[in-house]
């Protein structure tokens, strides 16, 4: 068990009569890049919201490093080391990029408002440290020199990177990425994949990924889970998932497997 970064035990979340997440079990090993895919409305983002504490699942437990976190507040969960990004970017848009990162460091810093007013030595030391760290992080996500831009003035791809930077500022153990490449052009996507790999390899942060771009998913995932109507319908390595008929049916409807086959053939012919 010790090598699991996070584990969900049969968690369910209902909205009125709708079952958004239905008894989902996930076991995610430390240091892995784990993808969750599924058609629109499959409950992927709801699952993320349960993990990060926005929603409390009605049934089931979420264990982060063996500790139950399912009924804890969002900020507590964040302080434990889970960071996330959002499907539609949620930066603090009227703050500068630098400030966004500094806010991200929130749980890592200890000085209080009294320290700030008095400028205690502790505060001075810490603010110098956090400043240096923030500049380092900006460089890390490729935004060097853009720190004084308002977040809303940055181009889309950079906003995505900044959001990841903000999430990393927390020094997380687990990073939840909600469609990090949505709306990006091919070049930006490639850069993003590089960044995600780098985060895992260099910083040793486990990553859970929601993604619609199958190329990305198949490219970087260690393991993949597939959700459909809130239920996990498959789990496995990218290869296994590609071959799984239920998955293809979930995406393309009944008989989808045959359809996909035909399509693949035709494409080969054209090529």
């Amino acid at each position: 068990m010790a090598d699991l970064i996070i584990e969900t035990k049969r968690i369910s979340k209902f909205f009125g009569g709708l079952t958004a997440v239905n008894e989902v079990d996930l076991q995610i090993p430390k240091g892995s890049i784990y993808s969750i895919i599924g058609p629109n409305g499959a409950g992927k983002t709801t699952l993320f919201n349960c993990i990060s504490g926005f929603y409390v699942p009605e049934i089931g437990d979420i264990l982060f490093l063996g500790q139950p976190i399912q009924s804890r507040s969002t900020d507590y969960i964040a302080s434990q080391g889970i960071s996330r990004t959002y499907q539609n970017i949620r930066l603090f848009s009227n703050l500068t990029a630098m400030e966004n990162i500094l806010v991200g460091q929130h749980t890592n810093l200890q000085t209080t408002w009294l320290d700030a007013i008095v400028h205690t030595p502790r505060y001075v030391r810490e603010s110098q440290y956090s400043h240096d760290e923030a500049v380092r992080l900006l460089t890390y996500v490729g935004l060097k020199g853009l720190g004084d831009y308002l977040a809303c003035n940055l181009p889309y791809g950079m906003q995505r990177r900044l959001e990841i930077g903000r999430a990393l500022a927390n020094a997380p153990k687990l990073l939840l990425l909600d469609e990090p490449t949505a709306g990006m052009n091919p070049q930006e996507t490639v850069d993003m994949i590089k960044l995600i790999r780098m985060v895992r390899d260099e910083l040793g942060i486990s990553i859970i990924l929601i993604e619609h771009d199958m190329k990305v998913v198949m490219d970087i995932s260690d393991r993949i889970s597939v959700l459909d109507y809130g239920t996990k319908i498959a789990e496995g390595s990218p290869k296994e998932i590609q071959a799984n008929e239920r998955v293809i049916e979930a995406y393309l409807g009944p008989g989808g497997a045959a359809l996909a086959d035909k399509y693949q053939k035709r494409r080969r012919k054209h090529a």
Partner: protein, 369 residues
């Protein structure tokens, strides 16, 4: 990257908040029960006739609040702004009605038997209808121009900006009325059959309780107006476009709805309702001066929030609840009448603490992630 030491001191803070909230609520409810027990069981000072009187007063003032509150709520529903000047719109409507009655009073009509009466008394229904029409039209116009001049250019601005503009408009309208009409207190001259203080006498406990005509008129008329408004919002094209604009302006515009026109219409409607409330105010209470809109304005805003701002039935309910609280609250809880606003505000706070979106307000989805 070096991982700093984690902060493990945070325990279940949210539950502490919940505990405090519940404690607060239980204390409030216990206090109310205790006072009610004292008043109704121990002291029992007031007979049913007194309670009936209080109820009547509460219903009348509540229905005026409700009408004004609807104006706040309509505008809020569409623009998400507090139209702080709404009370002043009501005051101006009241003045317009006052001038109508002054005019009809000045016109003398000689009846067939040679007696001379003023037009107000010769044609009371006509003059009342005229007063309402003029009052509503004038208020509607004020509302329309207010939006056009002070709010429309600010539609894209952050939400506090139109609020300040509205506060400015409130100042300006109030003082314009002060300078135009002088600070003198005016009196509505009602038609004789609607004289203030006159009414049906109901015998309760061998005491006559007067159900004033003007009060009944106020209640009935405001309920009619409110029902009419509800039907309009639900049924008509205009109502539908109002709801559409309230949901999403851009999409509504794409669907071919003239957003500007709809917003103007909303202000016209809310102004007209305020004007009606103003004339009722004048008919029932009689007195009128430039400052008369300020207090009802604040109260109606409170009522709108209490009922769930943006929600039309909520505004009606909120207005009624506030009116009744003000009238009955002090007597029922045996607290000085000086503190009736304190009672109303405290109960409002208690309600909002437990229903953060008002009595009928939709629960704003906490997380729209």
């Amino acid at each position: 990257m070096k991982v700093l030491k984690k902060n493990d001191r945070r325990l279940k803070r949210s539950s502490v908040g919940k505990m405090i909230r519940n404690l607060f609520g239980v204390l409030a409810v216990l206090f109310i029960i205790w006072r009610l027990y004292l008043v109704f069981i121990v002291q029992n000072n007031y007979g049913p006739e007194t309670w009936t009187r209080l109820l009547i007063a509460g219903l009348v003032i509540g229905s005026v609040y409700a009408l004004i509150a609807i104006g706040y709520t309509l505008v809020y529903g569409i623009l998400f702004m507090i139209n702080f000047a709404h009370g002043e719109v009501m005051m101006l409507g009241s003045f317009a009605g006052f001038f109508v009655f002054e005019a009809t009073n000045a016109i003398n009509i000689t009846a067939a038997d040679g007696s001379v009466t003023s037009l107000t008394n010769a044609q009371p229904v006509l003059s009342i209808i005229l007063a309402f029409l003029v009052g509503m039209t004038f208020s509607a116009m004020v509302g329309f121009f207010l939006e056009k001049i002070a709010y429309r250019p600010l539609r894209k601005a952050p939400r506090l900006i139109p609020l300040i503009s509205a506060i400015g408009a409130s100042f300006a309208l109030q003082n314009a009325a002060l300078l135009l009409f002088s600070p003198q207190t005016r009196n509505y001259t009602n038609p004789e059959f609607l004289a203030r203080g006159a009414g049906w006498r109901i015998m309760i406990n061998e005491t006559a309780v007067i159900l004033p005509y003007t009060g009944v008129l106020t209640m009935v008329l405001s309920i009619l107006l409110m029902v009419g408004l509800l039907l309009m919002v639900k049924r008509t094209r205009l109502g539908k476009s109002m709801r559409a604009v309230a949901m999403d302006k851009d999409t509504a515009a794409l669907m071919g709805i003239d957003v500007n026109q709809t917003i103007s219409n909303t202000f016209i409607i809310s102004g007209a309702l305020a004007g009606a409330a103003g004339v009722m105010w004048g008919l029932h209470n009689g007195i009128l001066h430039y400052f008369v809109g300020f207090l009802p304005g604040i109260k109606a805003f409170t009522a709108a929030v209490l009922g769930g701002i943006g929600n039309v039935p909520g505004a009606m309910l909120g207005g009624m609840v506030l009116g009744l609280l003000e009238a009955i609250g002090p007597a029922a809880l045996d607290i000085s009448f000086q503190l009736k606003d304190v009672i109303a505000f405290v109960i409002m706070i208690v309600i909002l603490v437990f229903k953060p979106s008002g009595i009928l307000g939709e629960v704003l989805s906490e997380e729209k992630v």
